[in-house]
Symmetry: C2
Subunit: 256 residues, 2 copies
């Protein structure tokens, strides 16, 4: 059973990378063979796992633009059962370069889907946009997880995002499902968070993970050490939340 899950939301800074890195690590801890794919030119998921790419090393850019096999690009990480396909600064130009390539929305799927099927879970981290990189990700994925910060601006973009998911389902990937929304950086002391939470539950019609990720400073400290939360501070609230999220996903899959 191989599951490809895209982490997507065009709103910036809502916790896509933090969710991708720590959910992927949580699944690896449960001894699921997991691959994290970094589709963001900022390469935050890559550095969040302590990986630095030198200029001559291949990254997701060569997979998308030169159709290099993922076999020649993936790297192991410090975490057993977790591999990564890294990103690099070269990806900045990819969205413009992809525009004039034939079947530009299928570049990832055509180059990598077979390789992805060797893993139990593949987690795709995306940039904050609905451009060709995120479209490639949605075209390849079995389902999408939407991290949402409980703030007003984060709500505004949901209709654009769900609209894009529908378009991908109609034209490129009819099997794409919505796995659910995950509330991130939650601060229960704020009235705003509770008001937005009600909106999110209505919007996603019950497809909201029970696990809520609380605001926790250890989650924003961990990337500066190049470590997922479990290796940085296993006792933190952030580690507890992301372990619960991984477990919720696994339970959901085992009963599906």
């Amino acid at each position: 059973m191989s599951r490809i899950i895209a982490i997507a939301n065009q709103k910036g800074g809502v916790g896509k990378t933090t969710t991708a890195v720590n959910l992927a690590t949580g699944l690896a801890i449960a001894e699921k063979k997991t691959l994290l794919v970094d589709l963001d030119p900022q390469a935050n998921a890559t550095s969040g796992l302590g990986i630095r790419i030198e200029n001559n090393q291949k990254s997701i850019y060569e997979l998308l633009i030169d159709s290099i096999s993922p076999e020649d690009i993936f790297l192991p990480t410090e975490v057993p059962f977790l591999d990564i396909i890294p990103s690099s600064i070269t990806l900045v130009g990819a969205e413009i370069e992809l525009v004039n390539i034939e079947n530009r929305e299928l570049a990832l799927r055509d180059s990598a889907r077979e390789f992805f099927r060797k893993y139990d879970y593949v987690i795709l981290d995306n940039p904050p946009s609905l451009g060709l990189l995120t479209i490639n990700s949605l075209t390849t994925a079995d389902s999408v997880i939407v991290p949402i910060q409980c703030e007003y601006y984060a709500l505004e973009g949901l209709s654009q995002l769900l609209n894009t998911v529908r378009l991908v389902q109609q034209h490129l990937n009819p099997d794409l499902k919505i796995e659910g929304a995950v509330m991130t950086m939650y601060d229960s002391r704020l009235n705003l968070a509770r008001q937005v939470e009600d909106n999110i539950r209505t919007y996603f019609e019950g497809k909201v993970f029970n696990t809520i990720i609380n605001r926790n400073v250890r989650l924003c400290e961990a990337p500066s050490y190049g470590k997922p939360i479990f290796l940085y501070d296993i006792t933190s609230r952030g580690a507890e939340n992301y372990l619960a999220l991984a477990q919720e996903l696994l339970v959901h899959d085992s009963t599906a």
Copy 2:
């Protein structure tokens, strides 16, 4: 004296829109004729000022793609001395459409620069990417303000951003200057914030605004009422910080 200032940072959720809306309002309060231009398909700056665009209304999309005059697009806002060129959902496709247009980096400058010169200040809000919308903005601007959250991932993208600014200076806009970095969502209780602060001051070699924007829940509540912070809660820390930022910019300009 007309100044066009881009608010840019490809890292998501660092406070670009919050800075654009509240700095523009702060300048309008000082009775400077100010224009806010929303170049983000999410249209957060537009809704942050309480403006909703109907399907038949023109927005920044028609200015960039159809070269419609800004005279036919701009709208007044609730704030005296503040106009806006709104964004809308149609802008999602603009980056792809611009790729195959001649002089695609100059679409904004060619259509709007003359109109911009009628204002004392023009503030350009940008999406979280270094694509053609942000490039158009940097090509048109006199200077750029970089909002930075004091967290690790926010530091990682700075070299890409400054590299893009250098490329724009070399090929498209030799007069573009760096106005400075603004530290946003600052929480002085966190060690991380103080460590990152030192990094930012070294990176920008002293071009860091003295005004620091603290984390303040009133700033994230205000957009849900469609109001800048000064109309939502003039007594808040957020209003105090953004008024100080506007004053620092004005003092800097009067002595320049």
